[in-house]
Symmetry: C2
Subunit: 306 residues, 2 copies
Amino acid sequence: MNLGINLSFAIKRWVEPEVWAELVSRQLGLRLVQFTYDLLDPWWPAASRDAMAARVRRAAADGGLEIESAFSGLANYCFDGLLHPEAEGRSASLEWWKRAFDVAAAVGAKVSGRPLGGMSAADAADPHRRAQRYRDLLESVQELTVAAKQAGLQRLQVECTPLAREIPYTAEQSRKFLADLEAQCAVPVTLLVDIGHALYQPLYGPDARMPHWLHGLGRSIGAFHLQNTDFQSDSHWGWPDKRGLFDLANFAREVKEAGLEDVPAFLEIIYPFELADEAVLSNITSSVLHCRREYAQEAVAEQQPA
Amino acid sequence: MNLGINLSFAIKRWVEPEVWAELVSRQLGLRLVQFTYDLLDPWWPAASRDAMAARVRRAAADGGLEIESAFSGLANYCFDGLLHPEAEGRSASLEWWKRAFDVAAAVGAKVSGRPLGGMSAADAADPHRRAQRYRDLLESVQELTVAAKQAGLQRLQVECTPLAREIPYTAEQSRKFLADLEAQCAVPVTLLVDIGHALYQPLYGPDARMPHWLHGLGRSIGAFHLQNTDFQSDSHWGWPDKRGLFDLANFAREVKEAGLEDVPAFLEIIYPFELADEAVLSNITSSVLHCRREYAQEAVAEQQPA
């Protein structure tokens, strides 16, 4: 099993690259990292951004960490992205993606990704506009694969989200989306499946199960996001959490049965901004220990690694 | 009482200016609006951004709405802002503010604001660096008041947040901050007090009460954010919500006693992205009715306005 961590836990707290690199390698005992654009906004002026990205790359190398990918977090999930109802909004999102590719390459990642965006309620309710947004989206992603290749990236990664106004939101729609893109992309497009998205019961019903996604998408899955959830929200809780119900050991078995144990699985926990730093450090440490035991099946002791 | 609404409820759903303007004026029966930068990111390329802002201004005018202010939402709260530990991060934030002033002026607002930023855990733990961040912050805000004036704005508004790593986070620190700025600003700096921040018990203790903030800050308060909360998180829930404990009618009495009934109070509800649109529409409607009855003391009926 290929366990790593998304740096979401570090935002606004352990912001300096040397600080989070030390936390990940020594406190958490991991080496596989997904960088989050919540630590370095692709919009920031290029000179500032590039200096900061170079520092990220150095700190990761010094800490023996591999930054496999760079991914959007909370900040850019607030906007409609490539499905914005206005042409100006969609073109701003294209620009964001291209700037993000530069950041990804600069921090040493091979892959960049995010959810593609959300339709407005009005567009989603109109079959004609909905179809137009989908056609535009295919064109935008094809254009972006060219930019990703130019930036030196190997793949573009698209996150599935639990909203019917977003694309793609089901395994079936994801397959159609990839088929519609096929043979027109400069680099491969893969999917990121977040278990808290995939099992969101208010949208997918009480019988939603991971094997449906795993067998439906197979090798199209480029990465997983791990989180604890009650299946009633996109929770992004850690372990322990008395509200959480997700059985990680069972998920590890399902991933093995699907032959996907090499796919990187990044723990992505999102803490309230106002939560005390000590509480976050304690919970991210116990969450990683839980993932190492239950998902990676390491024989790690209860106490924190040295 | 001066009740309005922050457009946070509309993000990723009712994105088109004509759509939210219709919702606010007809469904919710309000006319005072605080625009959120979560609908129009100041980072977007100027040509796109200006065209979108012009559409916002037109839609608000057509709907009879007043956009009193423009304020940052969730997206920019993810970053450290003017307190970023790296000089490049702080300079990017200065640039964000200046771009935001242009958006605020273009949508017709008089005021622009946000929380100032957060220190990293490492900076906050180091008395020397902490003091340096504070001095730099005063300089940055002074510089920004000049830019705000040039953009044609009347005030710059700073939100108090419930984190000891952020500035300002208490009524006492807010007073000192304003005093330290005094006579060096090109436009006045006022404070936005969010009741869910001000009464966050894990930081301020179980005895935190609004009169402490109201009488401590008085006319330095430029606006309120209203939300329902359990005092254990920065909840941003609406009404009804079985978890929420905030007594809005009592707050209205406290605001009157402090002589601040003319200060705009913007309802700011943040819904999970994945929540169904119908549920959000129903809750924002009942929340506004609750605010109109309990805060503005209007005699409105239970049913939705026509």
